[in-house]
């Protein structure tokens, strides 16, 4: 939050432990809440809302991956597959047993957490590169299994249609309703992640990331907490998968392939690993990148290229920009957008009396 401070004037423990230390912080929070809950769904048209919904789904997944990669220092190239586990669990529960969303979403998350923990077991013996490759293997094997077991996916290359979620007997239909539905889970995910990192478990994660041997010496059961990290992180991924399924209306394995896992890794790298704001910014950035590229080129690219060329250029330019940005952030600003934001905030903290 933007706020200028002139000193510490707290006189009671209650003030010291307050959630909002300054009145302006509370006001900013209320203003943000009004903006996101009231102004955005009423003010934006359906096209922008549906893009915003995509971002919200991505935020849930990215926050989850950040717990594993950013805070615990493990790596997973299999998060796309964990999302698909959640998505197919929920899709089957919804279509076969007619479960409502408040059963389907946690069930999808728990199933993904279970599979994620299984995949995390090798992290007892291996780390770094080996873990990266074994999660890559998990991605490919889960993808293949879902596609080739008709009981799960309804046949090869098939997709499962999923009905709209119902709330108080009312279906969530319009993009604005879907937006509020997703926003609820995003807030839940963010608060969950924030509080997790304030807890004993979160501190243990950070200790393992920074120095695993030292962490073990001070009494942290490394294996247990690594598995916890995998479980929590894949729970988030599973929930994101279910939400994405609700958003699309179908569950299809093609939505959860290797490039999705890489996208999520890119989100937390670009946003900034090991920060709470980073994944949110990164998710927005990576989701918007192709949309904006396409928009700009469709509007202005016609001046330079023919329509047929454009259809070829747009997806490839997206790849180039995507790869280029990952490299740029890794080389130039390893702490990502989050650090840029902190720099801006730091500048205005004492503004206009910076000296």
């Amino acid at each position: 939050m933007f706020h200028a401070e002139t000193g510490v004037f707290k006189t009671s423990y209650a003030a010291d432990a307050a959630l909002f230390r300054l009145p302006i912080a509370r006001r900013t929070m209320i203003a943000l809440a009004v903006l996101f809950v009231v102004v955005v769904p009423l003010g934006l048209d359906e096209y922008y809302l549906s893009i915003l919904n995509l971002i919200l789904v991505a935020v849930v997944g990215a926050v989850g991956l950040n717990i594993l990669v950013g805070y615990t220092g493990q790596i997973s190239i299999g998060h796309g597959a964990f999302m698909s586990v959640g998505a197919y669990t929920a899709a089957n529960l919804i279509t076969r047993a007619g479960m409502p969303f408040w059963v389907a979403i946690p069930a999808g998350g728990l199933m993904a957490a279970f599979i994620g923990t299984l995949v995390g077991i090798p992290s007892l013996r291996i780390k770094g590169l080996y873990l990266a490759i074994s999660t890559l293997a998990a991605q490919l094997i889960i993808e293949w299994t879902i596609n080739h077991v008709p009981w799960i996916s309804g046949g090869i290359q098939a997709s499962i249609q999923v009905g709209r979620p119902h709330l108080f007997g009312m279906a969530v239909r319009t993009p604005a309703e879907m937006y509020l539905f997703l926003l609820f889970f995003v807030v839940l995910a963010l608060v969950g992640s924030l509080n997790l990192m304030r807890s004993r478990i979160g501190r243990a994660f950070i200790a393992i990331r920074d120095q695993d041997i030292a962490a073990e010496i001070i009494g942290i059961d490394i294996f247990r907490y690594k598995l916890w990290s995998f479980a929590i992180s894949s729970f988030y991924a599973g929930v994101a998968g279910v939400l994405y399924t609700y958003y699309l209306g179908i569950a299809n394995y093609e939505q959860f392939q290797l490039d999705v896992s890489i996208n999520f890794l890119a989100m937390i790298i670009i946003g900034g690993m090991g920060s709470q704001l980073g994944p949110v910014l990164g998710a927005a950035f990576v989701t918007l990148l192709p949309v904006v590229t396409r928009r700009v080129l469709e509007v202005s690219g016609g001046l330079f290229f023919s329509a047929a060329d454009l259809a070829n250029i747009i997806p490839n330019l997206r790849l180039v920009m995507f790869g280029g940005l990952i490299i740029f952030f890794l080389v130039v600003e390893p702490e990502g957008l989050d650090r840029l934001w902190r720099k801006i905030r730091g500048y205005f903290r004492a503004w206009p009396f910076s000296y």
């Binding site: 990266a132 094997i141 293949w144 890794l330």
Partner: protein, 296 residues
């Protein structure tokens, strides 16, 4: 299960062996970089694809021109890449290095299509297309040449590492950078050299695989086969790549021949990874890899 048929099995084995040796060539590029610099290259498949594109573009002026330009282009490219991207990444967490190479992979896929077009290009080797027959087993000449080139290069690299001054210096760098530096070895120069060697291997891989499959972005998918090979063989072992390549090739070929009819396709990409998981569980440092005992 289809009826066991000796001829069919022999054909599968021979194909798997040849393809596996060609995998080994690409895996070699990965091993060279990992051995010398501890960097993990997730863009190996894209390197091969890019080498193939350069070679195919230059091959309009003759096959050998294509090979030479492809080699020169990839060496220059890898030198530049080491300088601009990998050098600033030294000493960063492993996640960052992996992500950087994933970024390079994405970049190369886009650039290749933007620069060379989306169509499939052909590389024609100056050999006849008539298959050789070894008893009942049919061997396509392109695969034979690929396997032969792989074996030659594997031998050359083994000799290079064991006998030449540069090779010994590279092994020293791989073993312990600080000590190597104290012995007067310019470590950064050998990092660049390792990447250049990867460039050579990738360009050759691009020419051979491009001649077999045609050059387009799909060519990068051979890179996914590198991981089972290097994990099974041991990440830092050239011999490991030579042995594990054919094993992976044969496993995938047998899986494609015997399992595909049962489960409806796709086992070719799936079986090597199952093999890899088993290898990780049983022998995490591979058949010939260096054992590093550390607490985790």
């Amino acid at each position: 299960m289809p009826e066991f048929d000796l001829t069919f099995t022999l054909i599968l084995l021979a194909n798997g062996l040849l393809i596996g040796l060609m995998y080994a060539l690409i895996a070699l590029g990965f091993v060279l970089v990992y051995k010398a610099t501890d960097a993990i290259n997730f863009a190996q498949g894209e390197f091969v694809m890019f080498g193939g594109f350069i070679a195919a573009a230059a091959a309009t002026g003759g096959f050998w021109l294509g090979v030479v330009v492809g080699l020169a282009g990839m060496i220059a490219f890898c030198f530049g890449l080491e300088r601009v991207v990998l050098r600033p990444m030294l000493g960063r967490p492993i996640v960052s290095v992996i992500m950087a190479t994933i970024g390079i992979a994405s970049l190369l896929r886009g650039v290749a299509v933007l620069a060379f077009g989306a169509g499939t290009r052909a590389i024609t080797m100056p050999v006849s297309d008539d298959p050789l027959f070894l008893g009942p087993v049919m061997l396509p000449p392109i695969q034979l040449i690929g396997a032969a080139v792989s074996l030659v290069f594997l031998a050359v690299f083994t000799w290079f590492f064991l006998k030449t001054r540069m090779g010994m210096a590279m092994r020293a760098v791989a073993d312990n950078q600080t000590v190597a530096m104290a012995m007067g070895i310019d470590v950064r120069r050998y990092f660049a050299l390792a990447w250049a060697l990867t460039g050579i291997v990738s360009a050759l891989g691009g020419v051979i695989w491009g001649a077999m499959l045609g050059v387009d972005t799909q060519l990068a998918l051979v890179g996914l086969k590198v991981f089972p090979v290097v994990i099974l063989g041991g990440l830092d072992s050239i011999i490991g790549a030579v042995v594990a390549g054919p094993i992976v090739g044969i496993v995938e070929s047998l899986a494609a021949g015997y399992l595909d009819p049962l489960v409806g396709g796709g086992t070719k990409d799936f079986a090597p990874y199952v093999l890899m998981i088993v290898a990780l569980m049983v022998r995490p440092y591979g058949l010939f890899g260096r054992w590093q005992v550390e607490r985790i």
